[in-house]
């Protein structure tokens, strides 16, 4: 079978599997967050943590709970890395330096999983399992419950209450993430991903060199790495490593895992607002943008050889940095899927993508992770975009816009504007400072447009909590560790503050009945308008950076 045919087959199977899971998983997710019944283990945990499960919090209390929980998580994860050599199963690893420990703690608590270290040579089993993997569950749950709280803003009326952060998070972890991770982990382990606590073993190769073979409970972490849109690999080469991603089947399965919950969340949204067509409209936006990204990257990676690049032409694609077990099509599918979600796992190296292919990956991240986006983050992101769209449409016809019966007034638009301004301000300020200062310039190893792309990609990836990287940037320098930590924290939590503030404002409203002048938000026209608004907003914001980076490099 040719590489292209295998790529089409993988894509078809992936779409079929995701479509089959859309309704059952989305319905189950809606059930998790609407039922009044607690499981026994949940009641035990609430008693243990002193949580009043009946307490219903206003938006500001909800967001303060997130901040307090995340602050403690950052400090704990930082401490764990700093005392690593006193921990058992550390495999001889020394304490992680303060700057790397802080960046890593921020990274995993914010669901980013940007990694300025090589996992197999920096972190022992305890830190990987009880530090990083725990945060891969918790940070994913935090993103999801923010989306759920935002949906409640639409379905509740004349109240300032959005739910209980601790109850929502507990349910997300126990009822959704852990069961799916067990299934996903078993599939990966059965397919060849390693799962052990063996000490590292050193062998002598045929040429007489010594090679250390690492071990670890990789398969179990791999499942939540992908499904929680985390992306932080056990090994430095992430899903290009055969212990993490052993076969072409597992690479497609990992893509399936990273798209599973984000694509099912619009169904949960439709179920919760009691209008499934609203969910179909939003998932249509997500699917179209995702397919455009897959098609765009696949095209440029496959056709790079046309027009003169002899090596790429002979290899039937741009194969530098591509894992030969998977080939260019699977690389393109993975790269598009990992950048439109906030996953950041890679099975090939984005720095080696063609200029336009890499430019699309950067554009995907700049979209703000909404197609389908990170777990939960994609949902609340696209809901804010839908609000902007009905506002724009309302301006055209001269009516106060409505979405799901809630009026979009100046106060709601202020929240939406703050939400969308935050990320460009954070990304472009950090990139500008890095390019304009000696500390930032010292770690830019590639000059010209490619160097600019690497810097912008790095901060876009960190702020949008993606975590994938263009490899040519010396991001382990203290400048990037420190600035990057701030970028991840503000890129994650500031938009969540504005999203929840917006949800609070919506929840306080009395719904208004639809009238003849109400814009349908479940029509193909609305789907097209949301896509147009997304592309125009992102295009206008990032066009100068894209023009000077990947577009200039590609045209040159």
């Amino acid at each position: 079978m040719s590489s292209a045919a295998a790529g089409w087959l993988q894509f078809g199977l992936l779409v079929a599997a995701l479509a089959a899971c859309y309704v059952p998983l989305g319905n189950y997710m809606a059930h998790i967050f609407t039922t009044d019944k607690d499981w026994k283990i949940e009641r035990f945990l609430y008693r243990l943590m002193g949580i009043d499960r009946r307490a219903d919090h206003k938006w500001s209390t909800y967001v303060k709970s997130i901040l307090a929980f995340s602050l403690v998580s950052v400090l704990f994860l930082y401490l764990l890395q700093r005392i690593q050599d006193h921990l058992m199963l550390s495999e001889g690893m020394t304490n992680v330096p303060p700057d790397t420990a802080w960046n890593t703690a921020d990274s995993f608590v914010t669901n980013t999983n940007w990694q300025n270290y090589a996992g197999e040579s920096t972190l022992g089993y305890v830190v990987q399992m009880s530090g990083l993997a725990v945060q891969q569950f918790m940070s994913a749950a935090v993103g999801l419950v923010v989306a759920i709280a935002m949906i409640r803003g639409f379905i509740r009326a004349k109240t300032d209450r959005l739910g209980n952060f601790y109850v929502d998070t507990t349910r997300a972890v126990i009822r959704l993430l852990i069961p799916l991770s067990i299934v996903g982990g078993l599939v990966l382990i059965a397919s060849g991903a390693i799962q052990n606590f063996h000490p590292y073993e050193t062998y002598t190769t045929l040429s007489g060199a010594h090679q250390t073979i690492p071990g670890g409970p990789v398969g179990s972490m791999e499942a939540i790495k992908d499904m929680g849109n985390n992306g932080g690999g056990w090994f430095n080469t992430n899903s290009a490593h055969p212990f993490e991603d052993p076969t072409p089947f597992t690479t497609v399965f990992e893509i399936f895992l990273l798209l599973l919950i984000p694509f099912a969340t619009p169904r949960a949204f439709g179920k919760m607002v009691k209008d499934n067509k609203q969910g179909y409209a939003l998932v249509a936006v997500m699917v179209i943008i995702w397919m455009l990204a897959v098609g765009g990257i696949s095209f440029f990676e496959a056709h790079y050889g046309l027009g003169g690049a002899t090596a790429a032409h002979l290899a039937h694609g741009a194969t530098e940095g591509v894992e030969t077990r998977f080939g260019t099509p699977a690389c393109s599918l993975f790269a598009a899927s990992t950048t439109v979600t906030s996953t950041g796992a890679v099975n090939c190296f984005h720095d080696s993508l063609t200029p336009f292919g890499g430019g699309i990956a950067l554009f995907d991240i700049a979209l703000g992770e909404i197609a389908p986006g990170g777990i939960g983050a994609g949902m609340y992101g696209i809901l804010v975009l839908a609000i902007v769209t009905v506002f724009v449409a309302g301006l055209m016809v001269g009516r106060t816009p409505e979405y799901l019966g809630k009026k979009i007034r100046p106060v709601e638009m202020k929240y939406a504007a703050l939400y969308f301004l935050t990320l460009p301000v954070v990304i472009l300020t950090a990139a500008g400072l890095s390019i304009g200062t000696h500390q930032g310039q010292a770690a830019i190893f590639n000059p010209g447009p490619h160097g600019l792309t690497e810097v912008v990609y790095a901060f876009a990836s960190m702020a949008n909590n993606n975590g994938s990287a263009f490899a040519g940037l010396g991001s382990a320098a203290m400048w990037y560790q420190t600035v990057g930590g701030f970028v991840m924290l503000f890129g994650r939590f500031a938009p969540e503050i504005f999203a929840l503030g917006l949800a609070g404002a919506l929840a306080r409203q009395q719904p208004v009945p639809a009238s003849a002048g109400t814009i349908s938000t479940k029509s193909p026209l609305f789907v097209g308008m949301v896509i147009a608004v997304v592309l125009v907003l992102v295009g206008l914001t990032y066009f100068p950076a894209l023009a000077l980076g990947p577009i200039a490099e590609g045209l040159h």
Partner: protein, 32 residues
Amino acid sequence: MNFNTDWFYIVMTIVAFGVLWLIVKGVERFER
């Protein structure tokens, strides 16, 4: 001066979350 110390990053953590906390307080005031 060596900034790569535990105290520096603990202070950075508190500063970052302190600013986020102030944003929440600011939005609450804006709402009133």
